[in-house]
């Protein structure tokens, strides 16, 4: 794997597969990113090498996240971390410090995708001790810092990557690497509200990618009919396709944020020239449409590509608030159409119909958390309020009911906070009694069910027949049997004295 981690586009990637946006495919319930997921799963089956495993798990995590499947995404990031940690151990044992530093960078990236900032930072610092002259190392540093919402640190790291990569640009591969790092720098600059320099960089990158410098690579893209978009790209062709897609989207987003609608639309349409069902571009074109007919058409296309994109769902709901669209005008002929219809039912206040529509969709997509959140919204019209640090049961119930109504600002605040409650755990399986470790996975806080993202091993022997003090972060909402439950990341368990 060439170390070309491409910063994500916000929370959601524009991942879609050309030619799948046909009614035939849609009726089969296939999503646009199914192809990439299948590719990555095949890669994981066929290759046991570190780079293949790592990129497979990272890409699968990103693809799952883009479909609102956060639990599956989390599980893949954990696997990526496991692979990176194994490689760290092996390379250190083999005295291969370069391998060790690379694996350490990837462990940091996986930690960042898991939202563990301090662990990620520590690993990044460790990696850069050995390879501060390596542009790819700095690029991973930038990606991790950006994931952790530290654009100033991401910008500094990306600037180092660009400065180092500029020293050697003889080959196409080196120029492609430089373009990746320039894109990462531009991304960080935009988030730091330094859009002037960002625009210059993005224009330079798109111009470069379309120049004669990359003509041979471009021909290879056409010959291979390559279209897949990955955040951890392997090989020049995959990197080129992904980078061109992302750079155009980023530039378009920049123009859109400035109100330069024509320029933005031109870039989004360029994206669709290469990939007709890019959900980010379609969603944006819907936002920017001058006519309601165009808007409906683009939204329909976007929902066929990825019906569970949280960004798309959010934007569509905003539009529905103004448009007062009659849900009956949407024929539920595909997964995307069924989603649009359910959202229109919600917007129209027909919660019973919305609940039925969403429950029908959940049968086909049982692990989709976008659907889960919408179902909760259909069940409760509550306004979200964040709980206190030691929340009452009522506060947690309110949050559970209104999780889908949280504003982006509330979600950021929730991610940053920790909570403490008395929890009664489900009976534990104690492992390795001599070392006194206890495996805990789920339980209840005063009757309110919770579940950890994964079973977690705690040092110490705990009596689960009595409440324990649990310190945790709240990740989302899941189901425990037929009941809604909080999805938690445990930070600490203590006996109550």
């Amino acid at each position: 794997m060439r170390r070309l981690e491409l910063p994500l586009l916000g929370l959601v990637l524009g991942l879609a597969l050309p030619l799948l946006a046909t009614s035939a495919h849609a009726q089969q319930g296939r999503l646009a990113s199914d192809f990439e997921i299948a590719q990555m799963e095949r890669q994981l089956e066929r290759s046991s090498g570190f780079e293949a495993q790592l990129s497979g798990y990272l890409n699968l995590g990103d693809l799952r996240a883009s479909r609102g499947e956060r639990t599956l995404a989390h599980a893949n990031y954990v696997k990526a971390l496991t692979a990176a940690e194994s490689e760290r151990t092996a390379s250190r044992r083999d005295s291969s410090i370069t391998r060790y530093a690379i694996a350490t960078s990837y462990a940091a990236l996986a930690e960042a995708k898991l939202g563990r900032g301090a662990e990620a930072f520590q690993l990044l610092e460790e990696s850069v001790r050995y390879m501060s002259g390596d542009a790819a190392t700095w690029n991973l540093h930038a990606s991790a810092m950006r994931l952790l919402s530290r654009p100033d640190k991401a910008g500094s790291a990306a600037r180092n990557a660009v400065a180092i990569a500029r020293l050697e640009t003889d080959s196409v591969a080196q120029r492609l690497d430089l373009a990746v790092y320039q894109y990462a720098l531009a991304t960080a600059l935009i988030e730091n509200r330094q859009s002037g320099e960002a625009e210059t960089l993005l224009v330079e990158v798109t111009g470069s990618l379309r120049s004669a410098d990359f003509a041979r690579l471009n021909r290879e893209v056409v010959r291979q009919e390559a279209f897949e978009i990955y955040s951890s790209a392997r090989g020049d062709v995959a990197a080129y396709v992904s980078l061109l897609n992302r750079t155009q989207l980023r530039l378009a987003g920049l123009y859109e944020s400035r109100g330069e609608i024509a320029a933005a639309r031109e870039q989004y349409e360029r994206v669709l020239e290469a990939r007709s069902d890019d959900v980010t571009a379609l969603n944006a074109l819907a936002r920017l449409s001058a006519s309601e007919a165009d808007r409906s058409r683009h939204y329909a296309g976007a929902f066929e590509a990825n019906p569970f994109s949280p960004t798309l769902v959010r934007d569509y709901k905003r539009w529905l608030e103004q448009s007062r669209l009659d849900p009956r005008s949407i024929e539920p002929s595909s997964t995307g159409a069924r989603m649009r219809r359910a959202l229109a039912q919600l917007a129209a206040g027909d919660r019973v119909a919305a609940r039925d529509s969403l429950e029908a969709l959940a049968i086909s997509f049982p692990r989709n958390e976008t659907l889960e959140e919408l179902r909760r919204e259909a069940e409760s019209p509550a306004v979200a309020t964040l709980p206190s640090d030691e929340p009452t049961t009522e506060e947690l119930r309110d949050l559970l009911d209104a999780f889908a109504q949280m504003t982006p600002e509330q979600r950021v605040e929730l991610d940053a906070r920790t909570f403490t409650s008395k929890a009664l755990f489900d009976p534990a399986g104690e492992i390795d009694a001599s070392e006194a470790r206890t495996l805990l996975a789920s339980g209840a806080i005063d009757g309110l069910r919770f579940q950890f993202v994964q079973p977690t091993l705690f040092a110490g022997r705990f009596d689960t027949s009595t409440p324990l003090r649990l310190t945790y972060q709240i990740l989302g909402v899941t189901r425990s049997g037929d009941r809604p439950a909080l999805l938690l990341e445990p930070l600490r368990v203590e006996a109550i004295r």
């Binding site: 940690e85 760290r88 001790r129 600037r159 180092n160 994964q454 110490g460 600490r492």
Partner: protein
């Protein structure tokens, strides 16, 4: 549960069997005793306990002050060791290191390319400032990707020199700066009185960290201890020496860059940090968190799963924090 305070990290420890508990703690031996900074707290063993930073990433002490940095949240807390009184500062991006120089405190904000003098002005430095050190009242900053060594006086840069980029450590002894270059397997020396190169040493495979290990008298050359995780050794090397000293010792190998004593200490794992204080010599393997005590004749592991900043060495003792309590070896 007191035995484990970062559960998720413990899971990974179990799963990988080779990780280091990421529970953040930094520790320092001060004139008043051992100071430990953990998430949200700074405390003097047997003394005060005050509010700290969320992610303690480094600690520095001098006289009756200690400063704890949070390079993630861009915070610094200075504590008066006598009273426990704190002063809190929001720093520029990514404060990775601090340096006391007389009454001044300098903080290196890496991702802002700044040195911040507390109570004074900010000094813009070259890209990627990674190391700050003081000697004889002067403050020096090495910027890693720029390959620039700059001397700061008050609030301004008074001298600078371009040198090789990408060093992994800077140590200063009197008028000589030593920089480790892991990718080149070199230790490069700079004469700080002239700001000119003063030679280089080829050392090991991946020399990454430097400590001073004696010598440096009128008739002995400075001895450097250099951690090399690839060779799994601490190399003991003669540092820079003047012509007069070299002649007095009857040879000039130090001037010729042939300073190897041909002495080293071997370790079972790849050590990448070395600290020497008085007669105590400690090496550390960041990948496993193993802390070793070593001598020319061998090495002994004294602790495992120790965090990278969670140990310190003084002339009298080695101390480390295991997430629950302080351990001491004298």
């Amino acid at each position: 549960m007191r035995r484990l305070f970062r559960v998720a990290a413990a899971v990974l420890l179990f799963a990988f069997a080779a990780g280091v508990d990421a529970a953040r703690a930094v520790i320092a031996v001060t004139s008043h005793g051992v100071v430990v900074a953990t998430a949200g707290s700074i405390r003097l063993e047997g003394g005060w306990n005050v509010e700290g930073v969320r992610n303690p990433t480094s600690i520095e002490t001098s006289g009756n002050r200690v400063v704890v940095l949070d390079a993630i949240d861009d915070q610094a807390v200075v504590v008066d060791l006598d009273t426990g009184r704190t002063s809190r500062f929001a720093t520029a991006a990514t404060p990775v290191a601090a340096q006391f120089a007389g009454n001044d405190l300098y903080i290196l904000a890496r991702d802002a390319n700044l040195v911040q003098r507390i109570g004074g002005a900010n000094v813009a430095v070259a890209a990627d400032p990674a190391f700050i050190s003081a000697s004889e009242g002067r403050v020096f900053v090495y910027s890693r990707t720029a390959g620039m060594l700059q001397e700061i006086e008050g609030d301004r840069i008074v001298r600078q020199m371009q040198l090789a980029p990408f060093a992994s450590d800077l140590e200063i002894d009197g008028t000589t700066a030593y920089l480790a270059y892991p990718c080149d397997a070199r230790i490069r020396m700079i004469d700080l009185s002239t700001m000119q190169p003063a030679g280089e040493l080829a050392v090991g495979v991946v020399p990454v960290d430097i400590a001073f290990a004696g010598g440096g008298t009128a008739i002995t050359a400075r001895v450097l201890a250099i951690a090399d995780p690839s060779a799994k050794r601490i190399w003991m090397v003669e540092g820079r020496q003047s012509l007069g000293k070299a002649v007095a010792r009857g040879f000039v190998r130090g001037l010729l860059g042939l300073g190897l004593f041909n002495r080293s200490s071997q370790f079972p794992t790849g050590i990448d940090r070395v600290i020497v204080s008085g007669s105590l010599r400690v090496a550390y393997d960041s990948s496993s968190g193993t802390l070793y005590r070593f001598s020319p004749s061998g090495s002994t592991a004294i602790a495992t799963a120790v965090g990278a900043g969670a140990f310190a060495v003084s002339e009298e003792q080695i101390v480390w924090w295991d997430g629950e309590r302080i351990h001491t070896v004298e």
